[in-house]
């Protein structure tokens, strides 16, 4: 384009022949670094602008619900951490809590506190991974390396107590399978102290950065009405200014006994989702600290739980807060050792379904920014 008047002779000829400019389709994924998993988005484009975006999911559907209906209650425990691989412990905790509710099993207080500490560590690890990966989506490689360092610390701590670094199966009906020791407590305290200092660095490195601001402020804004219509939960909802957190609204484990806030945003854009998650991490640190201070002695597991559970017929609906929002477990028992029906409603599912509406009229590059800010975990959507 050397000429200021860019309508070339060739284009003019085409228009005079009745040929008009056309829109086209582009597949983003199923193998694309910005989708963080096997997600395909069919983009209908007009130049750089999105006319229509349709997410296509199901590439890694494994049939967890049906698997749950073909094996005993305890045999499903390892499946939990394969649903949302970044929040395995939280899903693990919630599944056990749901079954405990269904079967009426008591949990000793020490176990509840250990569950809260490990769940919050897992939430921090998940948010840290999101932060690093999101910034890398936007083209910033350096923060990723700094942020990964903290995540490794959490993995080391959790590895010490649970025996695994990603796909945990630590919770049992009535407690946890191994008690925490003094090393765990001192390492966790050291981590909390260190992490608090690192937030200042993240802010200096990222929050005020002009490129980051241009890529996120006002991008992919969601109104509270849209959020309600699509049933959004988690940081995506809180960024719109709605204070909704299951840990506060329907507390489970010992969340009712600890003091923490629900950070909210106001514009519902990608930048607010970033700020909400960053503020949430600080709240998680507060929860961990309080739980460590109050950690009671005593048993870490209820020894009277039968090896083969057969809860009375009935159903239970259990909601919990995963790093991405509210996850629901609906379990139905017919009195046998195998669940009659197990249904999971996962938060990324709702959060992704709004993409079609939000992406309309945006640039392709912004779609990457929007999808990244949703913190999608595809195995959780595909089940």
């Amino acid at each position: 384009m050397t000429d200021g008047n860019i309508t070339s002779l060739e284009t003019e000829q085409k228009i005079s022949q009745g040929l008009t400019e056309q829109t086209f389709w582009l597949n983003m994924g199923p193998q694309h670094p910005a989708t963080h998993g096997v997600l395909r988005v069919v983009l209908h484009l007009d130049g750089e602008r999105v006319v229509e975006a349709e997410p296509v999911i199901g590439y890694i559907h494994r049939g967890h619900e049906r698997m749950g209906e073909t094996r005993g209650y305890a045999q499903f425990i390892p499946n939990n951490s394969r649903m949302d691989y970044l929040a395995g412990l939280i899903y693990n905790h919630a599944y056990c809590a749901a079954v405990e509710k269904l079967a009426g099993i008591d949990v000793p207080p020490r176990a509840e506190y250990i569950r809260c500490i490990t769940s919050e560590l897992n939430r921090l690890a998940s948010h840290l991974l999101w932060l690093g990966a999101y910034l890398m989506d936007l083209g910033a490689f350096t923060p990723f390396l700094y942020i990964w360092e903290e995540r490794e610390k959490i993995n080391d701590i959790l590895n010490h107590v649970t025996g695994s670094r990603l796909t945990y199966a630590y919770n049992r009906f009535g407690g946890v399978h191994k008690d925490v020791d003094d090393d765990f407590i001192s390492w966790t305290r050291a981590y909390v102290k260190r992490q608090r200092k690192r937030f200042k660095m993240y802010n200096r490195l990222v929050t005020g950065n002009v490129i980051f601001q241009n890529r996120t402020v006002g991008v992919g804004a969601i109104t509270p009405e849209q959020a309600l219509n699509y049933g959004l939960t988690g940081p995506c909802l809180r960024a719109c200014g709605v204070e909704y957190d299951i840990r506060k609204k329907e507390p489970y484990a010992v969340y009712s006994e600890v003091d923490f806030d629900i950070p909210t945003g106001s514009n519902g854009d990608a930048f607010d989702r970033y700020s909400v998650r960053l503020a949430e991490m600080e709240q998680s640190l507060r929860i961990i600290e309080q739980c460590l201070d109050r950690l009671p002695g005593g048993a870490y597991i209820n020894d009277n739980v039968p090896q083969y559970l057969a809860p009375d017929s009935g159903d239970v609906f259990f909601a919990f807060e995963s790093p991405r929002g509210e996850t629901n477990i609906f379990m139905v028992s017919d009195g046998s050792r195998i669940p009659y029906r197990m249904h999971w409603k996962t938060p990324s599912y709702s959060n992704l379904s709004i993409l079609a509406e939000i992406a309309r009229g945006q640039f392709i590059a912004d779609v990457v920014s929007i999808m990244g800010s949703f913190d999608l975990v595809i195995p959780e959507i595909d089940k």
Binding site: I57, G58, H61, G63, E65, R66, M67, E69, T70, R71, G72, Q75, K101, G104, L228, N229, Y230, G231, L237, V242, E243, Y244, K249, E250, Y308, G314, D315, V316, F317, F318, A319, E326, N328, F330, V332, S336, R337, I338, R341, H343, K345, Y349, S350, S353, I354, E357, D382, K383
Partner: protein, 159 residues
């Protein structure tokens, strides 16, 4: 907590066939009612006007019939409403995807897993299963290949 009288008024507005006893601490629902399947649109509109959002939507295969289970909840003050509807042998129910956009994908999922037909749904293609799947894996008559069963549950007698 939403007051008891408000709950009562709401339940009357839903015109239920049956009101189930529910203990929130045990079942997780504040209100649990069964309605006629043709009342679901009216119910969804009523709850939409009151500021509820669709939390979950699924169906249960009771072998003789299919049962829908909807959950609605509020953001401000949690008040979970479970709506059940016993479907006729045709497994048909009205869509609520035009009232709650959240229902769009959830109804597609429910359709492909349990074969429930949502009348008026704009796009009932397969969502998680392959496009040409001709089976309903969450129906009880679906034969699970024995190799994916957990070892202990191969035998019919579990004792």
């Amino acid at each position: 907590m939403t007051s008891l009288s408000a709950s009562k008024e709401l339940i009357e507005g839903l015109s239920p066939v049956e009101v189930h006893d529910t203990d929130y601490s045990k079942t997780g629902s504040h209100v649990d009612v069964t309605i006629e399947p043709d009342q679901i649109r009216k119910t969804a509109e009523l709850l939409n006007a009151r500021g509820y959002f669709l939390e979950d939507l699924t169906a249960l295969d009771r072998i003789d019939y299919r049962e829908m289970a909807y959950r609605f909840n509020q953001y401000i003050e949690p008040h979970r409403i479970t709506i059940r509807a016993k479907l006729d042998p045709e497994d048909e129910v009205d869509t609520i995807s035009d009232i709650f956009a959240a229902a769009n994908w959830q109804e597609r999922e429910c359709h492909e897993f349990l074969g429930v037909k949502f009348k008026g749904h704009p796009d009932l293609r397969r969502l998680l299963l392959p496009e040409d799947a001709d089976f309903f894996p969450l129906r009880k008559d679906f034969k699970v290949p024995p190799e994916i069963l957990a070892p202990e549950y191969h035998q019919e007698d579990n004792d």
